[in-house]
């Protein structure tokens, strides 16, 4: 018998086997002069915030060091006490956003503490080779590894766990995804090549959860993450999520946790969904410049009402707030927004612009 506290791996499938037979050399892994390049250590911050960074690179390419500790934890997904066993990069859903510049090297230390049950890894959509790094980063509980890759394509990219077989979707819908933003060295530009500078950037990760129910329709709970596996796979195969939320929980970005901005501020909303299509919409506002696919070598689209984020990608929408008020930032499948949880609020302070909108006559009795 296997005891509950026993360490349990993810699927040690082919990728791990392949890793085991690869005979790598440091020379094969290193590119030109990486060892001599300047290095910078960045402390990651949990979403919806993003670590401090330059929008325009002030120096030559560098090696940017990040560290993430994987945490498996009981996670509340709504305001009714429904819980699941989340798998997280650094304790948050989504994982923290990393920001580097094109040409930089990302050097990630990935730690899987002994207290976890499962094997994990990381697949960076921004990287090239080895299944996005997944084949080189499988870490069992009690292990860590270091992966370096060159950020060659500017844009917003998803990263996620992909440890093989059914483990892949299971880990992803349990919260194991995030975004890396690779900025052009000269910063973002509009469609005419003029610089675009944001005052704030928000990291919004959208997650679909599939929580099994019992025969009475109540959400089930499980003592350990591995015990939930069979039921959860069954629910996932139905393809109908029980929760669609921003930043891991219904209400994670509303009320006291609502996003804030000021009239005149330019905000970059980076929105990722590692598993499923979504369609962000800012109620009462727009996307001034939107990289729907998130890739900055393409000119941004302008004046969008709603944009599509393809499952397995991250997009970026740049918007200058022109009116104060409470904005709702939603997945405009409104059933998912309202019933399943995919709503955020943005509280915007500032002066009202009558020119843009005015209450000519307040609602009252019909007069004719």
């Amino acid at each position: 018998m296997v005891t509950r506290r026993q360490t349990i791996f993810g699927a040690l499938g082919t990728a791990a086997a392949l890793t085991a037979v690869a005979n790598l050399t440091p020379q094969a892994m290193a590119a030109d002069n990486v060892d001599e390049m300047p290095r910078k250590k960045v402390k990651l911050v949990p979403p919806p915030f993003v670590h401090e960074h330059e929008q325009v690179a002030s120096g030559p390419p560098q090696v940017v060091e990040f560290e993430m500790t994987i945490q498996e934890k009981v996670w509340e997904v709504d305001d009714e006490g429904t819980t699941t066993h989340a798998m997280t990069y650094d304790g948050s859903v989504p994982g923290p956003m990393m920001v580097v510049h094109e040409g930089d090297y990302v050097e990630l230390t990935l730690i899987n503490p002994e207290s976890n049950e499962l094997l994990h890894n990381i697949d960076f959509h921004a990287s090239t080779g080895a299944l996005g790094g997944g084949a080189l980063t499988e870490v069992a509980p009690g292990e860590q590894c270091v992966l370096r890759f060159k950020a060659t394509r500017p844009g917003t990219f998803v990263y996620h766990c992909a440890p093989g077989g059914s483990m892949i979707p299971w880990h992803v819908v349990s919260g194991m995804s995030g975004t890396i933003m690779v900025l052009p060295r000269e910063g973002l530009k509009d469609d005419k090549g003029n610089p675009l500078r944001y005052d704030r950037v928000y990291n919004i990760g959208e997650n679909d959860f599939y929580i099994p129910r019992d025969e009475n329709g109540e959400y089930k709970t499980y003592e350990t993450v591995s015990e939930s596996f069979s039921d959860q796979i069954e629910t996932m195969r139905g393809l109908i999520p029980t929760h669609v939320v921003f930043n891991g929980k219904k209400g994670a970005l509303t009320g006291e946790n609502a996003l804030t901005a000021k009239v005149g501020e330019k905000v970059l909303f980076v929105h990722s969904q590692a598993n499923r299509d979504t369609r962000p919409h800012l109620i009462g506002g727009h996307g001034d410049y939107v990289w729907e696919t998130g890739k900055f070598n393409n000119a941004p689209e302008k004046d969008l009402e709603t944009w599509l984020i393809r499952g397995g990608s991250a997009g970026a929408a740049f918007y200058e707030f022109l009116q104060p008020g409470v904005y709702a930032y939603v997945n405009h499948n409104l059933i998912e927004a309202v019933e399943l949880g995919a709503t955020a609020h943005v509280l915007v302070e500032g002066d009202w612009d009558d020119d843009l909108m005015k209450q000519v006559k307040a609602p009252g009795p019909i007069s004719k």
């Binding site: 018998m1 990728a15 392949l18 085991a20 690869a22 005979n23 790598l24 080895a130 509980p141 440890p163």
Partner: protein
């Protein structure tokens, strides 16, 4: 290219063979032995139960790929091939555990039902079995019969699989400057075995026929759980060893070897969406304690080559 490859292979292999010899004591000190059968208050010995037909496997010498993974100086290595000299005989069931046999355990409330979508047919092998279910069934049968039934170790599987045991890494190439060479060759090796693999649909036990030792349906479309835990041994530049052992993942044996988490009953694919998953997961049991212990058997292994 060929010469380079040979050179590469020998430069990896020789140190690894030595390493393997040196690390057996390490394996022994790291791995938790299988728990012995525990009495269950509600299940009584039942002398009327069908005892599975057994095949006695004589002592054998054979080549065997150590399932432990080795990383030396940050570089993953091909696990050593060892020449196993197993000096004891082994009693193994002639057939895989059938749906009918497994159902008897489920009916008594001791075993969880297999996870399958199709209606199980009595004389087909039970599939949709995770490690915990397989171990539980062995436990139940031991209580019912008073004998010690258990899952085979990976080494024992190779012992009774005979010519059906296929060295999982024999076709793997490697290039010190290109990890993809190993990934591609592994993929091709497994795709090839898939092309030659029997159809996925289940058939009554025994219908695939016996191997040279008389054991039926070995390495056909049902893979079986072993009791062997996943291990990884790292050796740094200074020769210091460290290791990770997880009995949360076990070796699964069939047309090729794989490792699976103990809670998986229906694998859907290999690592990172590539690779060749086991078709079905089932149970084959061996009888009797590991006699002499698995570890004294291992001491009989010597580096090969």
């Amino acid at each position: 290219m060929t010469a380079d490859r040979l050179k590469t292979a020998s430069s990896i292999f020789l140190p690894m063979a030595l390493l393997a010899g040196a690390s057996f004591w390490l394996i022994q000190s790291l791995t938790t032995p299988q728990q012995s059968t525990l009495p269950h208050p509600t299940i009584a010995t039942d002398t009327t139960i069908d005892t599975p037909a057994l095949v006695t496997i004589p002592p054998r010498n054979f080549e065997y790929r150590d399932p432990t993974r080795y990383i030396e100086n940050e570089l993953p290595q091909i696990s050593p091939l060892v020449h196993a000299k197993v000096q004891t005989q082994l009693e193994v069931t002639q057939d895989l555990v059938t749906n009918k046999q497994y159902r008897a355990c489920v009916v008594e409330g001791y075993c969880a039902p297999a996870i399958t979508v199709k209606t199980p047919i009595d004389d087909h092998p039970v599939v949709g079995i995770n490690y915990e279910m397989a171990a539980k069934y062995a436990e139940w049968l031991s209580i019912k019969t008073g004998d010690n039934w258990r899952l085979p170790t990976a080494l024992e599987w190779a012992q009774f699989a005979a010519e059906k045991y296929d060295d999982p890494e024999k076709d793997i190439q490697s290039d010190p400057n290109n990890p993809a060479v190993a990934w591609l060759s592994d993929y091709r090796a497994k795709s090839k075995s898939k092309g030659e693999a029997p159809r996925q649909s289940l058939r009554p036990v025994g219908l695939f026929g016996a191997n040279s030792l008389g054991v039926n349906d070995v390495a056909e479309n049902v893979w079986v759980w072993t009791s062997t835990c996943y291990e990884r041994i790292n050796v740094d530049a200074g020769g210091t060893k460290s290791s990770a052992t997880s009995c949360g993942a076990r070796v699964v044996e069939g047309a090729h070897r794989t490792y699976l988490s103990v809670f998986i009953s229906n694998p859907q694919g290999g690592g990172c969406t590539v690779g060749d998953p086991p078709s079905h997961l089932g149970i084959r049991l061996v009888k009797g304690a590991e006699q002499p212990s698995f570890w004294s058997l291992l001491r009989n292994l010597s580096p090969f080559g």
